[in-house]
């Protein structure tokens, strides 16, 4: 659509209108100006086309010659007084649509007087006119063109089609909706200080690191074999260093894929409880004076001058619990680089063998953070007393460190349905789609949204 509509009477100022059309095309480019002779194709309804151009244009230039007001039709009526006069129609439409109307007075023509104009055109007499005289046509026209340039800068909406405006508004509405809609899953790095945690391992591998302990309790196994003795069906045995030279070493525990592992702090400070399900075979190494405490008979003390092994065996239905007091109490890494497919940071109580663990909503969390997209996305704080639940999880436990009676857990992977809060109010803290777009396509997102804002603002101005 053209930016400038040239309204004129052929009998009055056709030549000047044509020159003006040429100058406008030179300055603002081909198609910038609309003039009935050149622009309307044969067979097209003039009124409809004129209305369409006037709806989209920035300004109507009413080219007024000396005879503009007085030209009459064959019946002797003044054309301006005839309702279907085309010039009158053009100006009426422009006024009705609040398009800027600029009277261009040619060769000394006077601005039309309000008293001589029909009622619908009377506002024309109050508009600031520009004079163009044939001797100084080029110079006078430049003033007009400069004025139109300024007008064009403020009428960006003129180049906006309805479809473009609709798309821009739709995108902004979509962004508004996405600002409140949360993604189902997102990559996250979690660091938490908790008093207990449980996880299900996604691959068969060594899950619990070996460690030296001053005390090792093993409960829930099917079989125990002390050095030099026959296997006994003893469900629980305690090994305790009876002197400073006594040494007990717990080996790395290789667990099968799908095993649930629980880390819990004992009711005794600096002692950790590790729970897991069988099948499992492992052997603890003992040396020096060791107190052996079976759960079904009296304890006794044995001295091993060389390292010896105590064998433990658990079946698939056994639920094993290891109670260990690490010697290096300041900080003990229990587990590292373990792929897991489920994590619970609240107390786990299993209700069925084949089902998911049932979680009690009481928080053992001391604090921590959840950083989505490695910190490029939103970072959520987890406060002391909060509890946390996940609908799903895939990833790797980077480290689980036992320090000061608490577990320092670092996880990296993908989380689903992460909720954090108190036992009475839990909120979904998964990122919104807008946060996801911002984290992943920051610059592109900014450009698209910015452009949509500009287009929408222009569309709104135009509609007004």
């Amino acid at each position: 659509m053209s930016r400038f509509f040239i309204s004129y009477r052929r009998e009055d100022a056709a030549a000047e209108a044509g020159r003006l059309y040429d100058l406008l095309s030179q300055r603002f480019g081909p198609g910038a100006a609309f003039m009935d002779v050149d622009t309307i194709r044969p067979g097209v309804d003039y009124r409809t086309t004129t209305e369409g151009h006037l709806r989209e244009c920035d300004a109507l230039l009413a080219v007024i010659g000396r005879h503009w007001e007085d030209i009459r039709d064959e019946a002797g009526r003044r054309r301006l007084d005839v309702a279907d006069d085309l010039v009158r129609f053009e100006i009426e439409v422009a006024l009705a649509r609040r398009v800027a109307v600029i009277p261009v007075l040619i060769n000394g023509a006077q601005a039309p007087s309000e008293s001589t104009l029909p009622d619908s055109l009377k506002p024309l007499s109050r508009f600031q006119a520009i004079r163009i005289d044939t001797p100084d046509f080029r110079r006078d026209s430049e003033k007009l063109l400069d004025a139109l340039s300024g007008l064009g800068r403020t009428r960006f909406s003129a180049i906006l089609t309805r479809w473009e405006a609709a798309v821009a508004v739709s995108i902004l509405l979509l962004v508004g909706v996405l600002a409140f809609t949360r993604v189902q899953r997102a990559p996250a790095e979690i660091r938490l200080i908790v008093s207990q945690l449980g996880f299900r391992i996604a691959e068969t591998r060594a899950v619990v690191d070996g460690m030296s302990v001053g005390r090792l309790g093993v409960a829930g196994v099917s079989e125990t074999r002390m050095p030099g003795e026959e296997p006994s069906i003893e469900p629980a045995v305690l090994l305790e260093a009876a002197s400073p030279t006594g040494r007990i070493s717990l080996p790395s525990l290789v667990l099968e894929m799908g095993t649930w592992v629980w880390f819990d702090r004992s009711n005794v400070p600096a002692e950790v409880t590790i729970g897991l399900t069988g099948p499992l075979q492992f052997q603890a190494s003992i040396e020096g004076r060791i107190k052996v405490g079976p759960s079904g008979s009296k304890s006794y003390e044995v001295r091993f001058d060389a390292p010896a092994s105590v064998h433990f065996k658990a079946s698939s239905t056994d639920s094993i619990e290891l109670s260990a007091a690490p010697i290096r109490q300041a900080s003990t890494t229990l587990s590292r680089e373990v792929r897991i497919d489920s994590l619970s940071l609240t107390r786990i109580e299993e209700a069925a063998l084949d089902g998911e663990p049932v979680v009690r909503p009481v928080s053992p969390i001391e604090g921590g953070t959840v950083a989505f997209w490695s910190g490029a996305g939103p970072v959520r704080d987890v406060n002391q007393g909060d509890w946390m639940a996940l609908a799903g999880l895939q990833g790797e436990l980077k480290t689980v460190t036992f320090r000061d009676g608490m577990f320092d857990v670092r996880f990296a992977g993908t989380v689903q349905g992460l909720r954090v809060g108190s036992s009475t109010e839990v909120v979904n803290v998964m990122p919104t789609y807008v946060e996801a777009l911002w984290a992943n396509y920051r610059l592109l997102f900014l450009v698209v949204v910015g452009l949509c804002f500009v287009l929408t603002a222009a569309a709104i101005r135009k509609a007004i």
Binding site: G217, K291, P294, S319, S323, R347, E349, E350, V358
Partner: protein, 271 residues
């Protein structure tokens, strides 16, 4: 105004019939409701996992299944089993388990309860038998589904008895097995499950008769080397010289320095 209370009118017969039928219906409804209320042994405090087919719920004459454990946080001692004879059985064989006990009071019903002893598997069975009943046939469908064998099962039976000025819960030693019992053992096995790891368990056994209680031993340490948390502690009880009610007081010291106690009354009918 004359009032005739004695002579039935022409329609009184049919009216009486209607009233009788109404009364019978009401009685039947009340009977059904009261019977159902009486026989429903489910513990309303247990949280039932609704979607779990093995969840704790009413199954005929008993409530059985796994439940969601509500952690109390207290360091209590759970009496999980008291048996005279508990034979090995295959939970997946489909054979019913038979529970037998000696009735201590013919007038009182007997309550039966089973606990799962596997860690992190919270299983329970509750049933109530009418007064005078001496046995119960227990279908092992749920036990088979959950693969709970003798090692992971504790069973209890108790009744209320009037002792002294009040009524007390008195446990009855059970014989449990899927085959007929050949020779009952001369001793009982009590299983105690501590919530936290213990340092030592102390036992005091007294016989309760018409006269003053006679203490057989006091504060005797069990002297096992290890009492891990949630691991059943098997306590043998034997050398009981006379029939009647006994009281076993159990005291325990915890590893964190605290202590806890519980009491257990049981009926001994002789060997």
């Amino acid at each position: 105004m004359p009032t005739d209370y004695g002579n039935p009118g022409p329609n009184d017969g049919s009216l009486r019939s209607v009233h009788t039928r109404k009364a019978l219906v009401v009685f039947a409804v009340l009977a059904v409701v009261s019977t159902r209320a009486a026989v429903n042994p489910c513990d309303p405090l247990l949280v039932q996992p609704e979607t779990d087919p093995n969840g704790y719920r009413l199954r005929g004459d008993r409530c059985e299944g796994v439940f969601v454990r509500q952690v109390s946080g207290s360091a209590s001692l759970l009496i999980a089993s008291f048996t005279r004879n508990f034979a090995e059985f295959d939970p997946r064989s489909g054979k019913d388990l038979r529970l037998e006990w000696v009735v201590a009071s013919e007038a009182r019903p007997t309550t039966l309860r089973a606990h799962g002893l596997r860690r992190r598997q919270y299983y329970r069975m509750d049933a109530e038998r009418p007064p005078g009943t001496r046995s119960y046939t227990w279908p092992t469908t749920v036990l088979g589904n959950l693969d709970i064998s003798r090692r992971f099962l504790g069973v209890l039976a108790w009744t209320d008895m009037d002792i002294g000025s009040g009524s007390r819960r008195v446990h009855l030693p059970l014989q449990v097995g899927s085959e007929p019992f050949r020779s009952p053992l001369r001793g009982y096995e009590l299983i105690l499950v501590p919530e936290v790891e213990l340092m030592e368990i102390f036992l005091t056994l007294s016989s309760i008769g018409d006269g003053p209680a006679r203490t057989r031993f006091r504060d005797r340490p069990l002297s096992y080397g290890y009492y891990p948390q949630l691991q059943g502690v098997r306590i043998p009880i034997s050398d009981l010289d006379r029939t009647g009610v006994y009281s076993l007081q159990i005291g325990a010291t915890q590893r964190d320095g605290a202590s806890t106690t519980t009491g257990f009354w049981f009926y001994h009918s002789g060997w």
